[in-house]
Protein backbone atom coordinates (compact mmCIF):
# COMPACT_ATOMS: atom_id res chain seq x y z
CA UNK A 1 0.00 0.00 0.00
CA UNK A 2 0.99 3.53 -0.63
CA UNK A 3 2.14 5.08 2.59
CA UNK A 4 1.37 8.67 3.39
CA UNK A 5 4.61 10.54 3.82
CA UNK A 6 6.04 13.96 3.34
CA UNK A 7 6.45 14.66 -0.36
CA UNK A 8 9.61 16.43 -1.40
CA UNK A 9 9.34 19.52 -3.55
CA UNK A 10 10.04 17.79 -6.86
CA UNK A 11 7.36 15.21 -6.16
CA UNK A 12 4.93 17.95 -5.27
CA UNK A 13 5.80 19.70 -8.53
CA UNK A 14 5.18 16.47 -10.40
CA UNK A 15 1.76 16.15 -8.81
CA UNK A 16 0.84 19.65 -9.86
CA UNK A 17 2.16 18.96 -13.33
CA UNK A 18 -0.10 15.95 -13.52
CA UNK A 19 -3.09 17.97 -12.35
CA UNK A 20 -2.31 20.60 -14.93
CA UNK A 21 -2.12 17.95 -17.64
CA UNK A 22 -5.50 16.67 -16.46
CA UNK A 23 -7.03 20.14 -16.78
CA UNK A 24 -5.52 20.51 -20.26
CA UNK A 25 -6.90 17.12 -21.29
CA UNK A 26 -10.35 17.97 -20.02
CA UNK A 27 -10.20 21.30 -21.84
CA UNK A 28 -9.26 19.42 -24.99
CA UNK A 29 -12.35 17.26 -24.58
CA UNK A 30 -14.44 20.42 -24.24
CA UNK A 31 -12.71 21.71 -27.36
CA UNK A 32 -13.71 18.61 -29.31
CA UNK A 33 -17.32 19.19 -28.27
CA UNK A 34 -17.05 22.85 -29.28
CA UNK A 35 -15.68 21.79 -32.67
CA UNK A 36 -18.47 19.27 -33.15
CA UNK A 37 -21.01 21.99 -32.38
CA UNK A 38 -19.54 24.15 -35.14
CA UNK A 39 -20.01 21.35 -37.67
CA UNK A 40 -23.44 20.39 -36.36
CA UNK A 41 -24.69 23.96 -36.54
CA UNK A 42 -23.16 24.49 -39.99
CA UNK A 43 -21.36 27.47 -38.51
CA UNK A 44 -17.86 26.79 -39.82
CA UNK A 45 -17.99 29.81 -42.11
CA UNK A 46 -20.00 32.14 -39.89
CA UNK A 47 -16.76 34.02 -39.31
CA UNK A 48 -15.20 34.55 -42.74
CA UNK A 49 -11.85 35.86 -41.53
CA UNK A 50 -9.02 34.19 -39.65
CA UNK A 51 -7.08 34.52 -37.36
CA UNK A 52 -9.14 37.55 -36.35
CA UNK A 53 -12.94 37.29 -36.15
CA UNK A 54 -14.75 40.10 -37.96
CA UNK A 55 -11.47 41.96 -37.73
CA UNK A 56 -11.45 41.80 -33.95
CA UNK A 57 -10.80 39.50 -31.04
CA UNK A 58 -14.42 39.65 -29.98
CA UNK A 59 -17.07 39.67 -32.72
CA UNK A 60 -20.80 40.01 -31.94
CA UNK A 61 -21.72 36.64 -30.47
CA UNK A 62 -24.87 35.95 -32.49
CA UNK A 63 -26.06 32.87 -34.36
CA UNK A 64 -23.35 30.73 -35.88
CA UNK A 65 -20.67 33.19 -34.75
CA UNK A 66 -21.28 31.95 -31.20
CA UNK A 67 -20.20 28.45 -32.19
CA UNK A 68 -17.36 29.38 -34.49
CA UNK A 69 -15.84 32.07 -32.31
CA UNK A 70 -16.54 30.08 -29.14
CA UNK A 71 -14.60 27.22 -30.71
CA UNK A 72 -11.74 29.59 -31.52
CA UNK A 73 -11.67 30.90 -27.95
CA UNK A 74 -11.58 27.44 -26.39
CA UNK A 75 -8.94 26.46 -28.94
CA UNK A 76 -6.78 29.44 -28.02
CA UNK A 77 -7.13 28.52 -24.36
CA UNK A 78 -6.09 24.92 -25.05
CA UNK A 79 -3.19 26.21 -27.12
CA UNK A 80 -1.97 28.24 -24.17
CA UNK A 81 -2.38 25.31 -21.79
CA UNK A 82 -0.39 23.12 -24.15
CA UNK A 83 2.34 25.70 -24.39
CA UNK A 84 2.60 25.88 -20.61
CA UNK A 85 2.47 22.10 -20.33
CA UNK A 86 5.27 21.63 -22.88
CA UNK A 87 7.39 24.21 -21.09
CA UNK A 88 6.68 22.70 -17.70
CA UNK A 89 7.61 19.24 -18.94
CA UNK A 90 10.75 20.59 -20.53
CA UNK A 91 11.86 22.11 -17.23
CA UNK A 92 10.58 19.57 -14.78
CA UNK A 93 10.28 16.16 -16.42
CA UNK A 94 13.12 13.68 -16.12
CA UNK A 95 11.95 11.24 -18.80
CA UNK A 96 13.12 12.44 -22.17
CA UNK A 97 10.34 10.65 -24.07
CA UNK A 98 7.70 12.43 -22.00
CA UNK A 99 9.38 15.79 -22.61
CA UNK A 100 9.35 15.06 -26.32
CA UNK A 101 5.69 14.07 -26.16
CA UNK A 102 5.02 17.49 -24.66
CA UNK A 103 6.69 19.20 -27.59
CA UNK A 104 4.87 16.92 -30.00
CA UNK A 105 1.57 18.01 -28.45
CA UNK A 106 2.58 21.65 -28.83
CA UNK A 107 3.50 21.09 -32.48
CA UNK A 108 0.23 19.29 -33.16
CA UNK A 109 -1.90 21.98 -31.53
CA UNK A 110 -0.18 24.64 -33.65
CA UNK A 111 -0.71 22.68 -36.87
CA UNK A 112 -4.29 22.07 -35.77
CA UNK A 113 -4.86 25.80 -35.37
CA UNK A 114 -3.44 26.47 -38.82
CA UNK A 115 -5.61 23.70 -40.29
CA UNK A 116 -8.62 25.33 -38.66
CA UNK A 117 -7.64 28.61 -40.31
CA UNK A 118 -7.24 26.92 -43.69
CA UNK A 119 -10.72 25.37 -43.44
CA UNK A 120 -12.14 28.86 -42.93
CA UNK A 121 -10.11 30.65 -45.58
CA UNK A 122 -10.72 27.97 -48.21
CA UNK A 123 -14.43 27.47 -47.47
CA UNK A 124 -14.30 24.07 -45.77
CA UNK A 125 -12.60 21.79 -48.27
CA UNK A 126 -13.61 18.29 -47.17
CA UNK A 127 -10.07 16.97 -46.98
CA UNK A 128 -8.97 19.78 -44.66
CA UNK A 129 -12.07 19.54 -42.49
CA UNK A 130 -11.56 15.80 -42.13
CA UNK A 131 -7.86 16.29 -41.33
CA UNK A 132 -8.79 18.90 -38.76
CA UNK A 133 -11.21 16.46 -37.13
CA UNK A 134 -8.66 13.64 -37.16
CA UNK A 135 -5.80 15.71 -35.84
CA UNK A 136 -8.11 16.80 -33.03
CA UNK A 137 -8.46 13.19 -31.95
CA UNK A 138 -4.71 12.63 -32.26
CA UNK A 139 -4.08 15.67 -30.10
CA UNK A 140 -6.57 14.42 -27.55
CA UNK A 141 -4.65 11.12 -27.50
CA UNK A 142 -1.41 12.99 -26.84
CA UNK A 143 -2.98 14.87 -23.96
CA UNK A 144 -4.42 11.67 -22.50
CA UNK A 145 -1.00 10.04 -22.80
CA UNK A 146 0.69 12.94 -21.05
CA UNK A 147 -1.85 12.84 -18.25
CA UNK A 148 -1.28 9.13 -17.79
CA UNK A 149 2.49 9.31 -17.97
CA UNK A 150 2.70 12.14 -15.44
CA UNK A 151 0.33 10.54 -12.95
CA UNK A 152 1.84 9.62 -9.58
CA UNK A 153 0.38 6.14 -10.01
CA UNK A 154 2.29 5.64 -13.21
CA UNK A 155 5.50 6.77 -11.58
CA UNK A 156 5.11 4.13 -8.87
CA UNK A 157 5.93 1.17 -11.03
CA UNK A 158 4.29 -2.19 -10.55
CA UNK A 159 5.31 -5.81 -10.62
CA UNK A 160 4.76 -7.20 -14.09
CA UNK A 161 2.43 -9.99 -14.93
CA UNK A 162 3.57 -12.29 -17.67
CA UNK A 163 1.31 -12.47 -20.69
CA UNK A 164 1.61 -15.95 -22.19
CA UNK A 165 -0.88 -15.47 -24.98
CA UNK A 166 0.32 -16.03 -28.48
CA UNK A 167 -1.17 -12.78 -29.63
CA UNK A 168 -0.22 -10.61 -26.73
CA UNK A 169 -2.76 -8.49 -24.96
CA UNK A 170 -0.58 -5.44 -25.51
CA UNK A 171 -0.69 -5.85 -29.23
CA UNK A 172 -4.40 -6.52 -29.16
CA UNK A 173 -4.79 -3.21 -27.36
CA UNK A 174 -2.62 -1.35 -29.86
CA UNK A 175 -4.61 -2.88 -32.70
CA UNK A 176 -7.90 -1.92 -31.08
CA UNK A 177 -6.81 1.65 -30.40
CA UNK A 178 -5.54 1.96 -33.96
CA UNK A 179 -8.83 0.66 -35.36
CA UNK A 180 -10.81 3.06 -33.21
CA UNK A 181 -8.72 5.93 -34.53
CA UNK A 182 -9.27 4.70 -38.08
CA UNK A 183 -12.98 4.45 -37.35
CA UNK A 184 -13.00 8.06 -36.16
CA UNK A 185 -11.39 9.07 -39.45
CA UNK A 186 -14.12 7.22 -41.35
CA UNK A 187 -16.71 8.93 -39.15
CA UNK A 188 -15.23 12.35 -39.87
CA UNK A 189 -15.16 11.56 -43.58
CA UNK A 190 -18.83 10.58 -43.45
CA UNK A 191 -19.73 13.71 -41.48
CA UNK A 192 -17.92 16.12 -43.76
CA UNK A 193 -18.53 14.50 -47.14
CA UNK A 194 -22.00 13.07 -46.41
CA UNK A 195 -20.88 9.83 -48.03
CA UNK A 196 -19.18 6.56 -47.21
CA UNK A 197 -21.53 5.23 -44.56
CA UNK A 198 -20.69 1.65 -45.55
CA UNK A 199 -17.06 2.10 -44.49
CA UNK A 200 -18.10 3.59 -41.19
CA UNK A 201 -20.48 0.70 -40.56
CA UNK A 202 -17.79 -1.88 -41.34
CA UNK A 203 -15.50 0.08 -39.04
CA UNK A 204 -18.09 -0.02 -36.28
CA UNK A 205 -18.33 -3.78 -36.63
CA UNK A 206 -14.54 -4.24 -36.58
CA UNK A 207 -14.09 -1.99 -33.57
CA UNK A 208 -16.88 -3.74 -31.69
CA UNK A 209 -15.31 -7.14 -32.30
CA UNK A 210 -11.86 -5.97 -31.27
CA UNK A 211 -13.12 -4.18 -28.18
CA UNK A 212 -15.06 -7.27 -27.18
CA UNK A 213 -11.89 -9.33 -27.54
CA UNK A 214 -10.04 -6.87 -25.32
CA UNK A 215 -12.76 -6.78 -22.70
CA UNK A 216 -13.23 -10.55 -22.55
CA UNK A 217 -9.46 -11.04 -22.34
CA UNK A 218 -9.34 -8.72 -19.33
CA UNK A 219 -12.27 -10.43 -17.65
CA UNK A 220 -10.75 -13.83 -18.26
CA UNK A 221 -7.07 -13.30 -17.52
CA UNK A 222 -6.73 -10.14 -15.48
CA UNK A 223 -9.83 -9.77 -13.32
CA UNK A 224 -7.59 -8.84 -10.41
CA UNK A 225 -5.72 -6.06 -12.17
CA UNK A 226 -7.92 -3.16 -11.17
CA UNK A 227 -6.50 -0.67 -13.68
CA UNK A 228 -7.24 -3.00 -16.58
CA UNK A 229 -10.58 -4.09 -15.22
CA UNK A 230 -11.79 -0.53 -14.71
CA UNK A 231 -10.75 0.52 -18.19
CA UNK A 232 -12.38 -2.58 -19.68
CA UNK A 233 -15.66 -1.77 -17.99
CA UNK A 234 -15.54 1.84 -19.10
CA UNK A 235 -14.69 0.75 -22.62
CA UNK A 236 -17.65 -1.62 -22.86
CA UNK A 237 -20.12 0.93 -21.51
CA UNK A 238 -18.84 3.71 -23.76
CA UNK A 239 -18.84 1.45 -26.78
CA UNK A 240 -22.42 0.42 -26.16
CA UNK A 241 -23.42 4.07 -25.77
CA UNK A 242 -21.51 4.91 -28.92
CA UNK A 243 -23.31 2.26 -30.97
CA UNK A 244 -26.64 3.70 -29.83
CA UNK A 245 -25.51 7.25 -30.57
CA UNK A 246 -24.28 6.20 -34.00
CA UNK A 247 -27.62 4.62 -34.84
CA UNK A 248 -29.35 7.66 -33.40
CA UNK A 249 -27.20 10.03 -35.48
CA UNK A 250 -28.08 8.17 -38.65
CA UNK A 251 -31.79 8.05 -37.88
CA UNK A 252 -32.07 11.70 -36.89
CA UNK A 253 -30.14 12.80 -39.96
CA UNK A 254 -32.54 10.77 -42.05
CA UNK A 255 -35.58 12.18 -40.26
CA UNK A 256 -34.43 15.79 -40.50
CA UNK A 257 -33.02 15.80 -44.02
CA UNK A 258 -35.74 18.16 -45.22
CA UNK A 259 -35.16 20.61 -42.38
CA UNK A 260 -34.29 24.17 -43.24
CA UNK A 261 -32.02 24.64 -40.25
CA UNK A 262 -30.06 22.36 -37.90
CA UNK A 263 -32.29 21.24 -35.04
CA UNK A 264 -31.37 20.83 -31.39
CA UNK A 265 -31.97 17.07 -31.33
CA UNK A 266 -29.81 16.45 -34.40
CA UNK A 267 -27.00 18.65 -33.11
CA UNK A 268 -27.12 17.11 -29.63
CA UNK A 269 -27.06 13.49 -30.81
CA UNK A 270 -24.36 13.94 -33.45
CA UNK A 271 -22.20 16.00 -31.08
CA UNK A 272 -22.56 13.34 -28.40
CA UNK A 273 -21.54 10.75 -31.00
CA UNK A 274 -18.34 12.70 -31.71
CA UNK A 275 -17.62 13.28 -28.03
CA UNK A 276 -18.20 9.67 -26.97
CA UNK A 277 -16.07 8.59 -29.94
CA UNK A 278 -13.21 10.59 -28.47
CA UNK A 279 -13.81 8.99 -25.07
CA UNK A 280 -13.82 5.47 -26.55
CA UNK A 281 -10.49 6.24 -28.19
CA UNK A 282 -9.05 7.71 -25.00
CA UNK A 283 -10.21 4.72 -22.95
CA UNK A 284 -8.72 2.23 -25.37
CA UNK A 285 -5.51 4.24 -25.39
CA UNK A 286 -5.23 4.23 -21.62
CA UNK A 287 -5.98 0.54 -21.60
CA UNK A 288 -3.10 0.13 -24.02
CA UNK A 289 -0.82 2.14 -21.79
CA UNK A 290 -1.88 0.12 -18.76
CA UNK A 291 -1.25 -3.10 -20.63
CA UNK A 292 2.30 -1.98 -21.34
CA UNK A 293 2.71 -1.05 -17.73
CA UNK A 294 1.44 -4.14 -16.00
CA UNK A 295 2.05 -6.90 -18.51
CA UNK A 296 5.23 -8.35 -19.81
CA UNK A 297 5.59 -10.61 -22.75
CA UNK A 298 7.01 -14.04 -22.43
CA UNK A 299 10.26 -14.80 -24.29
CA UNK A 300 10.60 -11.31 -25.58
CA UNK A 301 12.93 -8.50 -24.77
CA UNK A 302 10.96 -5.38 -24.06
CA UNK A 303 12.02 -2.64 -26.37
CA UNK A 304 9.62 -0.05 -25.26
CA UNK A 305 8.79 0.71 -21.70
CA UNK A 306 7.42 3.90 -20.35
CA UNK A 307 7.70 2.90 -16.74
CA UNK A 308 10.54 4.74 -15.06
CA UNK A 309 11.51 1.93 -12.75
CA UNK A 310 11.61 -1.51 -14.21
CA UNK A 311 10.82 -4.23 -11.80
CA UNK A 312 12.98 -7.27 -12.23
CA UNK A 313 11.08 -10.33 -13.24
Amino acid sequence: MFKQRELNSSERGATWLHRFALVATFSTFVLIIAGALVTGNEAGLAVPDWPLSYGSLMPPMVGGIRYEHGHRMVATFVGFLTMILAFWLWRGESRRSVRMLGFLALGVVIIQGILGGITVLFFLPTIISVSHACLAQAFFCLMVSLTLLTSPDWRQGVPKIEDRNNFSFRRLCVLTTGSIYLQLILGAALRHSKSGIVFHLVGAFAVTVLAMLVVTRVFKYYPNVSSLLRAAWVLSILLLAQLFLGTGSYLIRLATRQDVQPGLAMVTITTAHVAVGALVLATSLSLTFQSYRVLSQANRVRRFSTAPQKVAL
Binding site: P48, Y54, P59
Partner: protein
Protein backbone atom coordinates in the same frame (compact mmCIF):
# COMPACT_ATOMS: atom_id res chain seq x y z
CA UNK B 1 10.88 -21.45 -32.40
CA UNK B 2 9.17 -20.89 -35.69
CA UNK B 3 6.52 -18.23 -36.08
CA UNK B 4 3.48 -18.68 -38.25
CA UNK B 5 3.37 -16.07 -41.04
CA UNK B 6 0.43 -14.13 -39.57
CA UNK B 7 2.25 -13.68 -36.35
CA UNK B 8 5.48 -12.79 -38.07
CA UNK B 9 3.81 -10.03 -40.04
CA UNK B 10 2.19 -8.72 -36.89
CA UNK B 11 5.51 -8.71 -35.13
CA UNK B 12 6.94 -6.83 -38.08
CA UNK B 13 4.15 -4.28 -38.02
CA UNK B 14 4.78 -3.91 -34.35
CA UNK B 15 8.48 -3.41 -34.99
CA UNK B 16 7.79 -0.82 -37.66
CA UNK B 17 5.40 1.00 -35.34
CA UNK B 18 7.99 0.98 -32.58
CA UNK B 19 10.65 2.12 -34.97
CA UNK B 20 8.36 4.94 -36.01
CA UNK B 21 7.75 5.90 -32.40
CA UNK B 22 11.47 5.91 -31.70
CA UNK B 23 11.97 8.11 -34.73
CA UNK B 24 9.40 10.56 -33.49
CA UNK B 25 10.89 10.46 -30.02
CA UNK B 26 14.28 11.45 -31.41
CA UNK B 27 14.24 15.23 -30.93
CA UNK B 28 16.35 16.09 -33.96
CA UNK B 29 14.33 13.92 -36.30
CA UNK B 30 11.15 15.18 -34.75
CA UNK B 31 12.17 18.78 -35.24
CA UNK B 32 12.93 17.98 -38.87
CA UNK B 33 9.59 16.26 -39.34
CA UNK B 34 7.78 19.12 -37.68
CA UNK B 35 9.56 21.74 -39.78
CA UNK B 36 8.79 19.81 -42.97
CA UNK B 37 5.13 19.49 -42.09
CA UNK B 38 4.85 23.16 -41.24
CA UNK B 39 6.58 24.13 -44.46
CA UNK B 40 4.23 21.91 -46.45
CA UNK B 41 1.26 23.51 -44.76
CA UNK B 42 2.51 27.02 -45.42
CA UNK B 43 3.27 26.16 -49.03
CA UNK B 44 -0.15 24.64 -49.42
CA UNK B 45 -1.81 27.70 -47.90
CA UNK B 46 0.16 30.17 -50.04
CA UNK B 47 -0.14 28.12 -53.22
CA UNK B 48 -3.87 27.85 -52.71
CA UNK B 49 -4.07 31.55 -51.98
CA UNK B 50 -2.33 32.55 -55.19
CA UNK B 51 -4.55 30.30 -57.20
CA UNK B 52 -7.60 31.83 -55.59
CA UNK B 53 -6.55 35.43 -56.08
CA UNK B 54 -5.51 34.58 -59.63
CA UNK B 55 -9.08 33.93 -60.62
CA UNK B 56 -10.52 36.95 -58.86
CA UNK B 57 -13.74 37.66 -60.63
CA UNK B 58 -14.69 41.07 -59.29
CA UNK B 59 -13.07 43.26 -61.88
CA UNK B 60 -12.48 40.72 -64.60
CA UNK B 61 -14.24 41.25 -67.91
CA UNK B 62 -16.95 38.67 -68.45
CA UNK B 63 -16.79 35.98 -71.09
CA UNK B 64 -18.51 38.07 -73.72
CA UNK B 65 -16.39 38.82 -76.72
CA UNK B 66 -17.25 39.90 -80.25
CA UNK B 67 -20.00 42.19 -81.44
CA UNK B 68 -22.97 42.93 -79.21
CA UNK B 69 -26.39 42.03 -80.57
CA UNK B 70 -28.85 44.89 -80.10
CA UNK B 71 -32.42 44.06 -79.22
CA UNK B 72 -34.68 45.44 -81.93
CA UNK B 73 -37.92 46.65 -80.30
CA UNK B 74 -39.69 46.36 -83.67
CA UNK B 75 -39.32 42.56 -83.76
CA UNK B 76 -38.80 41.68 -80.07
CA UNK B 77 -40.90 38.72 -78.96
CA UNK B 78 -42.10 37.67 -75.52
CA UNK B 79 -42.36 34.35 -73.77
CA UNK B 80 -44.73 34.18 -70.82
CA UNK B 81 -46.15 31.36 -68.84
CA UNK B 82 -47.28 29.96 -65.54
CA UNK B 83 -45.56 27.46 -63.29
CA UNK B 84 -47.93 25.09 -61.57
CA UNK B 85 -47.52 22.56 -58.85
CA UNK B 86 -49.29 19.24 -59.11
CA UNK B 87 -50.05 17.05 -56.16
CA UNK B 88 -50.43 17.41 -52.45
CA UNK B 89 -49.16 20.74 -51.20
CA UNK B 90 -46.21 20.37 -48.87
CA UNK B 91 -46.73 21.64 -45.33
CA UNK B 92 -44.99 24.97 -44.88
CA UNK B 93 -41.92 24.67 -42.68
CA UNK B 94 -41.72 27.34 -40.05
CA UNK B 95 -38.30 28.88 -39.47
CA UNK B 96 -37.29 28.97 -35.83
CA UNK B 97 -35.65 32.28 -35.07
CA UNK B 98 -36.26 32.16 -31.32
CA UNK B 99 -32.59 31.60 -30.57
CA UNK B 100 -31.75 34.81 -32.41
CA UNK B 101 -33.40 37.65 -30.57
CA UNK B 102 -32.27 40.23 -33.14
CA UNK B 103 -33.99 38.27 -35.93
CA UNK B 104 -37.08 37.22 -34.02
CA UNK B 105 -37.72 40.85 -33.07
CA UNK B 106 -38.04 41.73 -36.75
CA UNK B 107 -41.07 39.49 -37.28
CA UNK B 108 -44.51 39.61 -35.73
CA UNK B 109 -45.85 36.78 -37.89
CA UNK B 110 -44.28 33.35 -38.17
CA UNK B 111 -41.78 33.05 -41.01
CA UNK B 112 -41.84 30.07 -43.35
CA UNK B 113 -39.14 28.50 -45.45
CA UNK B 114 -39.27 29.42 -49.11
CA UNK B 115 -38.06 26.13 -50.53
CA UNK B 116 -41.41 24.99 -51.97
CA UNK B 117 -43.90 27.86 -52.07
CA UNK B 118 -47.24 26.89 -53.57
CA UNK B 119 -49.81 29.67 -53.62
CA UNK B 120 -53.44 29.78 -54.76
CA UNK B 121 -54.28 28.10 -58.06
CA UNK B 122 -51.32 25.77 -57.52
CA UNK B 123 -49.03 28.61 -58.48
CA UNK B 124 -45.41 27.66 -57.82
CA UNK B 125 -43.27 30.60 -56.80
CA UNK B 126 -39.49 31.00 -56.99
CA UNK B 127 -38.88 29.08 -60.20
CA UNK B 128 -36.01 30.42 -62.29
CA UNK B 129 -36.92 30.44 -65.97
CA UNK B 130 -34.36 31.25 -68.67
CA UNK B 131 -33.43 30.70 -72.28
CA UNK B 132 -31.14 27.72 -72.22
CA UNK B 133 -30.54 27.25 -75.95
CA UNK B 134 -31.28 29.04 -79.18
CA UNK B 135 -29.30 32.25 -78.90
CA UNK B 136 -26.21 30.73 -80.45
CA UNK B 137 -23.07 32.77 -79.95
CA UNK B 138 -24.95 36.04 -79.79
CA UNK B 139 -23.70 38.48 -77.22
CA UNK B 140 -25.97 40.92 -75.50
CA UNK B 141 -25.26 44.08 -73.68
CA UNK B 142 -24.50 43.50 -70.03
CA UNK B 143 -26.58 45.67 -67.79
CA UNK B 144 -24.55 48.00 -65.58
CA UNK B 145 -27.55 48.36 -63.31
CA UNK B 146 -26.80 46.25 -60.22
CA UNK B 147 -29.13 43.48 -59.11
CA UNK B 148 -29.87 43.99 -55.43
CA UNK B 149 -29.86 41.24 -52.83
CA UNK B 150 -31.01 42.43 -49.45
CA UNK B 151 -30.60 40.78 -46.07
CA UNK B 152 -33.73 41.83 -44.28
CA UNK B 153 -35.50 40.23 -41.35
CA UNK B 154 -32.76 37.61 -41.42
CA UNK B 155 -34.02 36.44 -44.80
CA UNK B 156 -32.70 36.99 -48.31
CA UNK B 157 -34.73 39.21 -50.62
CA UNK B 158 -35.25 37.97 -53.24
CA UNK B 159 -35.05 34.27 -52.50
CA UNK B 160 -34.35 33.36 -56.14
CA UNK B 161 -33.07 35.76 -58.77
CA UNK B 162 -31.05 36.06 -61.93
CA UNK B 163 -28.10 38.16 -62.90
CA UNK B 164 -26.14 38.48 -66.13
CA UNK B 165 -22.59 37.22 -66.15
CA UNK B 166 -20.57 40.32 -65.41
CA UNK B 167 -23.52 42.35 -64.17
CA UNK B 168 -22.92 43.82 -60.72
CA UNK B 169 -24.62 42.22 -57.74
CA UNK B 170 -25.16 44.61 -54.87
CA UNK B 171 -25.62 43.07 -51.42
CA UNK B 172 -27.26 45.10 -48.67
CA UNK B 173 -27.67 44.45 -44.99
CA UNK B 174 -30.83 46.16 -43.79
CA UNK B 175 -30.78 44.24 -40.52
CA UNK B 176 -29.62 45.45 -37.12
CA UNK B 177 -27.60 42.25 -36.83
CA UNK B 178 -24.54 40.66 -38.41
CA UNK B 179 -24.63 38.31 -41.39
CA UNK B 180 -22.04 36.53 -43.41
CA UNK B 181 -22.79 36.00 -47.06
CA UNK B 182 -21.32 32.98 -48.74
CA UNK B 183 -22.17 31.96 -52.32
CA UNK B 184 -21.19 28.37 -53.13
CA UNK B 185 -20.54 28.37 -56.87
CA UNK B 186 -19.14 25.50 -58.88
CA UNK B 187 -18.10 27.55 -61.88
CA UNK B 188 -17.27 30.94 -60.37
CA UNK B 189 -14.96 32.12 -57.64
CA UNK B 190 -16.18 31.34 -54.14
CA UNK B 191 -16.21 34.09 -51.54
CA UNK B 192 -17.45 34.65 -48.02
CA UNK B 193 -17.86 38.12 -46.53
CA UNK B 194 -18.99 39.39 -43.18
CA UNK B 195 -21.60 42.14 -43.13
CA UNK B 196 -22.14 44.04 -39.93
CA UNK B 197 -25.21 46.22 -39.44
CA UNK B 198 -24.97 49.45 -41.44
CA UNK B 199 -22.07 48.19 -43.52
CA UNK B 200 -21.48 49.71 -46.98
CA UNK B 201 -23.18 47.55 -49.60
CA UNK B 202 -21.03 44.94 -51.19
CA UNK B 203 -20.56 44.74 -54.95
CA UNK B 204 -19.56 41.56 -56.70
CA UNK B 205 -19.88 40.01 -60.12
CA UNK B 206 -19.99 36.46 -61.37
CA UNK B 207 -18.10 36.31 -64.65
CA UNK B 208 -19.26 32.86 -65.74
CA UNK B 209 -22.67 31.38 -66.44
CA UNK B 210 -23.98 29.14 -63.69
CA UNK B 211 -27.38 27.62 -62.94
CA UNK B 212 -27.69 28.09 -59.95
CA UNK B 213 -25.38 29.43 -57.25
CA UNK B 214 -26.65 28.73 -53.73
CA UNK B 215 -26.03 31.54 -51.26
CA UNK B 216 -25.77 30.82 -47.57
CA UNK B 217 -25.52 32.65 -44.30
CA UNK B 218 -23.74 30.57 -41.67
CA UNK B 219 -24.73 32.89 -38.87
CA UNK B 220 -28.38 32.09 -39.61
CA UNK B 221 -28.35 28.64 -41.21
CA UNK B 222 -31.94 28.94 -42.49
CA UNK B 223 -30.97 31.84 -44.78
CA UNK B 224 -30.74 30.61 -48.35
CA UNK B 225 -30.89 32.20 -51.75
CA UNK B 226 -30.18 31.06 -55.30
CA UNK B 227 -28.62 33.08 -58.08
CA UNK B 228 -28.95 32.18 -61.74
CA UNK B 229 -26.03 33.59 -63.71
CA UNK B 230 -26.81 33.84 -67.42
CA UNK B 231 -24.87 35.40 -70.31
CA UNK B 232 -27.93 37.10 -71.79
CA UNK B 233 -30.77 39.12 -70.25
CA UNK B 234 -33.53 36.56 -71.03
CA UNK B 235 -34.50 35.18 -67.64
CA UNK B 236 -37.24 35.59 -65.05
CA UNK B 237 -38.44 34.19 -61.73
CA UNK B 238 -42.01 32.99 -61.22
CA UNK B 239 -43.98 35.39 -59.10
CA UNK B 240 -46.54 34.80 -56.37
CA UNK B 241 -49.16 33.87 -58.97
CA UNK B 242 -46.69 31.50 -60.65
CA UNK B 243 -46.33 33.61 -63.78
CA UNK B 244 -43.18 34.77 -65.49
CA UNK B 245 -42.38 36.93 -68.49
CA UNK B 246 -39.26 37.03 -70.66
CA UNK B 247 -39.27 40.09 -72.90
CA UNK B 248 -37.18 41.41 -75.77
CA UNK B 249 -36.34 38.06 -77.38
CA UNK B 250 -35.14 38.11 -80.97
CA UNK B 251 -37.48 35.94 -83.10
CA UNK B 252 -36.30 32.35 -83.16
CA UNK B 253 -36.52 28.86 -81.76
CA UNK B 254 -35.59 28.46 -78.12
CA UNK B 255 -35.27 25.92 -75.36
CA UNK B 256 -36.70 27.35 -72.16
CA UNK B 257 -35.64 25.79 -68.88
CA UNK B 258 -37.43 26.10 -65.58
CA UNK B 259 -35.39 25.39 -62.45
CA UNK B 260 -36.67 24.78 -58.95
CA UNK B 261 -34.44 24.25 -55.92
CA UNK B 262 -36.25 21.13 -54.71
CA UNK B 263 -38.25 19.99 -57.71
CA UNK B 264 -35.50 19.91 -60.31
CA UNK B 265 -35.58 21.23 -63.85
CA UNK B 266 -37.83 20.98 -66.86
CA UNK B 267 -37.35 22.20 -70.45
CA UNK B 268 -39.65 23.07 -73.32
CA UNK B 269 -39.13 24.26 -76.88
CA UNK B 270 -40.80 27.35 -78.20
CA UNK B 271 -40.67 29.28 -81.50
CA UNK B 272 -41.51 32.94 -81.56
CA UNK B 273 -41.93 35.19 -84.57
CA UNK B 274 -41.41 38.96 -84.67
CA UNK B 275 -43.46 40.81 -81.99
CA UNK B 276 -45.11 37.53 -81.08
CA UNK B 277 -46.01 36.54 -77.53
CA UNK B 278 -46.11 32.85 -76.74
CA UNK B 279 -47.09 31.10 -73.58
CA UNK B 280 -45.06 28.24 -72.15
CA UNK B 281 -46.45 26.64 -68.99
CA UNK B 282 -44.56 24.27 -66.73
CA UNK B 283 -45.89 21.83 -64.18
CA UNK B 284 -43.78 20.38 -61.39
CA UNK B 285 -44.98 17.23 -59.73
CA UNK B 286 -45.01 16.66 -56.00
CA UNK B 287 -43.52 13.20 -56.38
CA UNK B 288 -40.26 14.83 -57.35
CA UNK B 289 -39.75 16.15 -53.84
CA UNK B 290 -36.83 13.95 -52.92
CA UNK B 291 -33.55 15.17 -51.63
Amino acid sequence: MKMEPGKASLVNTHKILMKGLETIMNPRKFALLFATLTMMLILYACGGGEQKTGETGEQKAPETTGPVTQIDPATAATVTGKISYEGEKPKPIQIRMDAEAACAALHKEPVYAQQVVVNGNNALQYVFVYVKEGLGDKNFEISKEPVVLDQKGCMYHPHVFGVQAGQPLKVLNSDPTTHNIHPVPANNREWNKSMSPGVTPLEQTFPREEIMIPVKCNVHPWMKSYIGVVKHPFFAVSKEDGTFEIKGLPPGEYTIEAWHEKLGTSTQKVTVGPKETKSVDFTFKAAAVIS
